[in-house]
């Protein structure tokens, strides 16, 4: 009946939770999100052909998007980060903390693109498949996200090629 569902959950649960944490920023919410996404996947398990990962990631990001909209408290992601003082971020730790804060400040969609591309190492095409949009839209979202994160402009140029 399960057709490998239990095995899939056992093997992939921890990784899915890590991805969900990067989307939500909270471990408890991430675990709830994964549980909910896996329940949805189970309901459709018999219809999934081949690798379930793209399907499960799609459920995960869609469920997160709907939770995010429901729980949105009116915070508006800032377009620009405050410019740090000249000597700030000499400390590696501070720099990384600032980058994490910036990631948390991205829109839900931009964050999803960044997590799928840089954490899950999905290609732009694969991201588009998971998010249900065109590769062009993924590139646009990724470009905006990287600008806001102040990622090296050369990275942007390579990506936009």
């Amino acid at each position: 009946m399960d057709d490998g569902f239990a095995d899939y959950v056992t093997q992939r649960h921890a990784r899915l939770c890590r991805t969900a944490y990067l989307l939500t920023g909270d471990w408890a919410t991430a675990e709830d999100l994964v549980q909910s996404a896996l329940a949805r996947a189970w309901a459709a398990w018999r219809r999934i052909d081949g690798d379930p990962d793209p399907y499960v990631y799609r459920i995960l990001t869609n469920t997160h998007a709907s939770w995010w909209r429901r729980r949105w408290r009116g915070e508006i992601p800032t377009e620009d980060l405050p410019e740090p003082a000249e000597d700030d971020f000499t400390d590696e730790h501070d720099a990384r903390r600032a980058l994490w804060t910036a990631i948390r400040g991205l829109s839900e969609r931009q964050r999803a693109v960044v997590v799928l591309h840089y954490f899950e190492e999905l290609t732009v095409q694969q991201c588009a498949g998971v998010l249900g949009c065109s590769p062009g839209t993924v590139k646009t979202q990724l470009g905006r996200a990287l600008r806001r994160l102040r990622v090296d402009p050369e990275v942007l140029m390579v990506m936009e090629r």
Partner: protein, 224 residues
């Protein structure tokens, strides 16, 4: 200060390193999944009942559709090599009618007047039928081999598709889909019935299926 994409990768790895505090509860996940599946089934059934009631309200004769098909009144004929014993429609008074020997083909029928009645007889019971015209239309199953509907809005022409009973079509509400692709008109990998009113989506399904044997006749009538 700027970052490299390696900074981004290592930060995402580092921040998510801790991992979940508890292991997966597969039993609970299955229980939630079963509840979700039951909820979708109930919603689908309620949807069909509501749609049926709406048709009866709009056109009370719909309930007697199969009886009033007047198959008996059809002219004497020899068995068609393609259509076999498929009953004839009552084509007297039909504005336009068509007989086909394969499913998954969109056929246009001329229709004049504000509201028109569409009647389809299918060889395979429970075949899916889509009839649309100028933004209006309906989708349903050829219950006992006959399906009828009414299309308003002065359609001018009605496009009819017949898909096999086992085509990947669902009547689920988009809100109950785990993954709903509005653009592709799919819910959890199946085509959503009402989205098939869109030509591009019906065409996609037809392309997925290919042309299959499946005889049907369709007629468009006035005086709805």
């Amino acid at each position: 200060m700027t970052y490299t994409d390696d900074d981004l990768r290592s930060l995402l790895r580092e921040r998510s390193e801790r991992g979940p505090t508890r292991g997966p509860d597969v039993t609970e996940i299955r229980r939630q999944g079963a509840l979700l599946r039951a909820y979708r089934w109930v919603m689908g059934t309620v949807g069909m009942v509501v749609a049926g009631a709406a048709v009866l309200l709009l056109w009370p004769d719909a309930a007697t559709g199969p009886r009033t098909t007047q198959v008996a009144a059809a002219p004497a004929r020899s068995v068609d090599p393609v259509l076999g014993d498929l009953p004839y429609l009552d084509e007297r008074g039909a504005m336009d009618a068509v007989s086909m020997g394969s499913s998954a083909i969109g056929e246009d029928l001329a229709a004049t007047g504000e509201r028109v009645r569409v009647r389809v007889v299918c060889e395979e019971p429970r075949s899916w039928v889509v009839a649309s015209g100028k933004g209006e239309g309906s989708v349903g199953r050829c219950g006992d081999g006959v399906w009828t509907t009414v299309i308003g809005g002065a359609p001018g022409k009605v496009r009819v598709w017949v898909f096999p009973p086992d085509a990947a079509i669902t009547e689920a509400d988009p809100r109950s889909c785990a993954v709903y692709h509005a653009e592709a008109g799919t819910c959890d990998g199946r085509y959503r019935a009402t989205d098939l009113l869109r030509y591009d989506i019906a065409l996609d399904l037809a392309a997925d299926l290919g042309v299959k044997p499946g005889s049907w006749r369709a007629g468009v009538y006035g005086d709805a």
